[in-house]
Amino acid sequence: MGALSIRNVRRSYGNVDILKGIDIEVEAGDFLILVGPSGCGKSTLLNIIAGLDKPTEGEIHIGGRDVTHALPKDRDIAMVFQSYALYPNMNVAQNISFGLEMRNVPKPERDAAIQRVSKMLQIEHLLDRKPGQLSGGQRQRVAMGRALARNPTLFLFDEPLSNLDAKLRVEMRAEIKHLHNKAQVTTVYVTHDQVEAMTLGDHIAVMKGGLIEQLGSPDEIYSRPATRFVAEFIGSPAMNIVNGQRAANGFASHGIDLTLNDEQRALVGNGHAEGILYGLRPEAVLLSDAGLPGTVSLVEPTGPETYVLVDTPIGKMMARVPGKVHQVVGDNVHLHWSANEAHLFDAKTERRVS
């Protein structure tokens, strides 16, 4: 039985449709990521799950109960906000136990919860401090502690790492994952950062314009993106997309033939009159002595690998090369890849063909 069930949820403000029909089932203990660009509706969806917003249509079920009309406090959920929203006038211990206090949990039990949670998050030494005296990372932990203290059925995270600097973000990301492994609470996590999505999630829902473009495991999303949007959104640098047409040998773009393997040829068939989009992840593009000719226009070494942007007859292609390269801007190179690595999308619907 699912811990969270989102059924045909729609949300409109007057004429504007923010959510156009969302269906998601989340198993107990699962870590679901809602990822997408600004305005895709992910925060609205999170607020609806939390009860801070009402759906125009649809239902939310948490732990087997229909909570669509229930108040947030009756849904047995906890939430970590982007700004952490710690109560400035209370110290850490009071912040953590506030939810328990509101539910009239007796003091000894509250103290026990504070101990348990602060130990788990290693913030025991901060219990007397006020939020104003804490660092960003410490506040994050206190916010998580406040959520954990209530042992909820569902955890909600609203872009909690956005306010942190890059290094801290990586550390806290690991902590969140570690915590999830230990506590195993069903979690819904909203982010616009696809790296967070890929590293933290058991399942990812990529959203755009109020709809889910694809819902699947990180591997599925990465290896078999269902739409052009998902293909370009996930993975950095973004996938190379080339416009082309069905041709005798398979596929042709800008007068150059690109081979398709048998499976691809079969799936493409004779349709797709408006064209085909041919996608290649940068790591699939190899620099070699033979293949598609091109001129190097940009070289970006990042340390462990180098991104090389090449001008080719079929467009600009980004290659991701491990280690260093000896080519410089202006050099002539050849690009080569295996047909198996290509992702094909219909140019009109932008949906995956193969």
Partner: protein, 308 residues
């Protein structure tokens, strides 16, 4: 569209009903705001309407709800005294606004020049706002006392021909109200402009200095124009203060000599509460309201619009 993982059969789940508590919590904000809102609404608009009706009635010493159309207004506009009051409002308003804004702006600019004693000076310029207009009026009445006040000081300092009988001079008395009013309010204008000046981005000024502009130039071309919003809100507050001037006039001149310093506010009070002309008083109050509304409503509207 949706590529979900294998969907298990959806079990029928128990619905959490919409409880009384939920309903109450939805209504609570409205319930809480309602009494204040109704009270304020009634106090403002209800009484306004009532006053409006009184102005269309034949009321004299006591309210008499007989409808007489615009008769009271006709009487109003034929009244010499009302015209004097309007004229005074014009004179007072104009001078009060001008000097108040000019002095306030000047003081703000001067104080903005990194003065060591800024805090003390600010306190000195602003303390009059903490006083009641009655206190101010009483004090200035003494200072401008013909014979024993300012005039006497001037005589003793050598200017024997100096005459200052403005307080009892029907043509000049209104200017004494201006002096007292500006004294009371200039500090307030200063505070507003100072806040506005402090809100200006430093980097703009640095850029201007690098561009070679002199200080007065910078003030004239950059700073003062960017204070436009402050100008408007100050203008609005001062106008509304001027139109409401009652306390100050009563204390300083009691509308006198005769009714030479009458203002719409004192006119209204006298008519309604000591002359037994309630209908006339109500009519004058309505005119005052219309004047204030004409200034304030567009301003409020544009402010609230901008906020959206």
């Amino acid at each position: 569209m949706n590529t979900t993982t294998a969907t298990p059969l959806r079990a029928a789940s128990t619905a959490v009903p919409i409880s009384m508590a939920t309903r109450l919590s939805e209504w609570m904000p409205k319930l809480v705001l309602a009494p204040s809102f109704l009270l304020a609404f009634f106090f403002i608009y209800g009484l306004m309407a009532w006053n409006g009706y009184l102005s269309l009635s034949a009321s004299r010493l006591l309210p008499n709800y007989e409808f007489v159309g615009l008769q009271q207004y006709a009487t109003l506009w034929e009244s010499d005294r009302w015209w004097v009051a309007l004229k005074n409002l014009g004179i007072y308003g104009g001078l009060f606004l001008f000097f108040g804004m000019a002095i306030g702006l000047l003081l703000a600019i001067l104080l903005d020049q990194k003065i060591r004693a800024e805090g003390v000076l600010r306190t000195v310029y602003l303390y009059p706002m903490a006083l009641s207009f009655i206190v101010t009026g009483t004090a200035w009445k003494w200072i401008l006392n013909p014979g024993l006040g300012l005039e006497k000081v001037m005589h003793e300092w050598g200017w024997t021909s100096f005459g200052f009988d403005w307080l009892i001079n029907p043509d000049r008395a209104i200017y004494t109200v201006v002096i007292a009013g500006v004294w009371q309010s200039a500090g307030f204008v200063m505070a507003l402009f100072l806040a506005g000046l402090r809100g200006i981005d430093d980097s703009i000024l640095k850029a201007a200095q690098i561009d070679g502009a002199s200080l007065p130039r910078i003030y004239w071309r950059i700073i003062i124009p960017s204070l436009r919003p402050v100008f408007f809100s100050t203008l609005m507050v001062l106008s509304h203060l001027a139109i409401k001037s009652f306390d100050l006039v009563m204390a300083l001149t009691a509308g006198g000599p005769g009714y030479a310093t009458d203002m719409p506010a004192t006119f209204m009070y006298t008519m309604a509460f000591s002359r037994g002309q309630i209908g006339l008083g109500a009519a004058s109050a309505t005119i005052m309201l219309a004047t204030v509304a004409a200034i304030v409503v567009p301003y409020l509207y544009s402010e609230l619009r901008a906020k959206k």
